[in-house]
Amino acid sequence: MISARERTLNYVVLVVFAVYALYPLVMIVDLAVSPDLSGDAAGGLANFEGAWEQGRFGTYLRSSVVVSAITVSIATFLSILSGYAFGTMRFPGRALLFWTMLVGIMVPTEAIVVPLYFDLRALDLTNTYVALILPQVAQSVAFGTFWMRAYFLSSSRDVVEAARIDGAGHWQTLWRVLAPMGRPAIVTLTLLIFMWTWNEFLIPLVMVTSENLRTAPLGLAFFQGQYTSGVALLAAGAVIVALPVVIVYLVLQRHFIQGIVEGSTKG
């Protein structure tokens, strides 16, 4: 049986832990709505307006939305296709191709970003959405293929057989039967790719010099370097950059935690 003392101890541990996790975040939100000595920040929600104007976060967010939306759409769609093939079909070289893609999960961006930059520059493709998006799609489909294959492997053979007897081809079987059933797996994948893309820093830092293409985290780093008169607008900018992912996380936290936990367990 659990004693009252143990129960109290449990709550003490959890509360201390929660405060430790929350303190820095609460502090930055508090800074973001407080006035500071710069004279730019009057406090309250006006600080966000100030950051939006002075820090040009409107531009950065737009760029982040474009990059994330396109990366997530392409990567999720292609991952479903390739995961479907690896999970339900047999063709020569299947294992080799799958392992080749699996390696991509472990390759750090640091290793590929240098040749990518110089080769894309030679093709005049740096400072474009292509340079921001396609390398991130490549990284995401490596994980996505692995993730969706696990779902399709676990999907029921009987359902597929039934669809086939009903006269459905492989394309219909995928989109009318298996994809709808796999919605939880697909939602989780979408969220993970969104989070990775939104938070990515190194690829935009290297690929883009034009201010119009700067993504939100990159814009924040530049703003910190340039704007030194106070911390309120900087903090407001930080909140703006973090908020989209945090909101989605709070609404769908089960998917996030499960995705990050299971995504690695299955490896």
Binding site: A21, R90, L153, V261
Partner: protein, 313 residues
């Protein structure tokens, strides 16, 4: 043999093969060339934007190249430099220190705390889990900006020190030669520890309560109970936690770029940061590529080693 006959024979053979596979409990599916069509788009983008750059990185790492003019072949010298150049050796050494802060401390602390919480059904656990996991989803650049304020000369840490009369200890933590690296590491601890805790909580949640009671009846104390009940049950989760956090430590870039820029001096520079600095600031592209390739090799190797440890009974 006519074409039609050949086709029939071929499909009969294929059917026979697939029937045999089925008997052996082989993976699902039947022979389908159309699989290539489904795999192709993902594979092409992956090959062009990940695999090819990786091969190119290996190639570039054999050259001395400034990124502009023609490079010169130097063989393995860029790799030898990683061992010989004190600055580079230091960068890898710093990465090892970060592994302690990002991976070992969070795993150890997370394990102990998860085992403390494991035995009781706690109300509001979903809420606590959501909050404790939160640092994982906040962009690292935002985390870095936030912790810069915490470590600032007039930040909360120094405020507390002054308040309790230890004002002499107050300093700009990220500007201190000896303390900047641990300070950066502590940020990693903050980011990783929630992940570890939530992972272990999932693991301990699967332990049947009777096991704890049986251990109690056998007279096992808390430590004995931890070693013989909790630890074996979360073995898999430990492997996962270590894999994720060690890789995060080795790949630290955003955090160093935003908090210290590798400074003061070279006190907090790490391999990822050296890749960036050498390729895009110092014009030592070959050296940067060699560091990136080495980092990749270390990560692949660590993955294998950690997975192997996890497999052992």
């Amino acid at each position: 043999m006519s074409a039609a006959e050949a086709q029939t024979a071929a499909s009969a053979a294929a059917a026979d093969r697939s029937a045999r596979r089925e008997r052996r409990g082989a993976p699902p599916g039947e022979p389908r060339r159309v699989g290539y069509v489904y795999v192709a788009p993902a594979l092409v983008i992956y090959a062009v934007f990940l695999l090819f750059p990786l091969v190119r990185a290996v190639q570039i790492s054999f050259y001395k190249w400034d990124g502009l003019t023609l490079g010169g072949w130097v063989g393995l010298r860029n790799y030898a430099d990683i061992l010989a150049d004190p600055a580079l050796r230091a960068a890898f050494g710093h990465a090892a220190v970060l592994v302690v802060f990002f991976a070992l401390i969070p795993t150890a602390v997370g394990l102990v705390l998860a085992s403390v919480v494991a035995r009781a059904r706690v109300r509001g656990l979903t809420f606590f889990r959501t909050v404790i996991f939160l640092p994982q989803v906040v962009a690292m650049v935002v985390v870095a900006v936030t912790w810069r304020q915490i470590y600032a000369p007039d930040g909360p840490i120094n405020d507390v020190l002054r308040f309790v009369g230890l004002g002499d200890l107050a300093r700009g933590w990220l500007g201190d030669f000896d303390l900047a690296l641990p300070a950066v590491g502590m940020v990693g601890t903050w980011v990783s520890i929630g992940l570890c805790f939530v992972l272990f909580l999932a693991g301990t949640g699967k332990i049947p309560r009777e096991l704890y009671e049986a251990a109690r009846i056998d007279g096992a104390g808390p430590i004995r109970e931890f070693v013989s009940v909790t630890l074996p049950a979360v073995r898999n989760e430990i492997v996962v936690a270590l894999t994720l956090t060690v890789i995060a430590a080795l790949r630290t870039f955003d955090l160093v770029y935003v908090t210290t820029g590798g400074g003061p001096g070279n006190a907090t520079t790490v391999p990822s940061y050296e890749v960036y600095r050498r390729a895009f600031e110092l014009g030592a592209v070959g050296s940067a590529a060699a560091i990136g390739v080495t980092l990749t090799a270390i990560i692949l190797l660590l993955n294998l080693v950690i997975a192997r440890i996890g497999e052992q009974p």
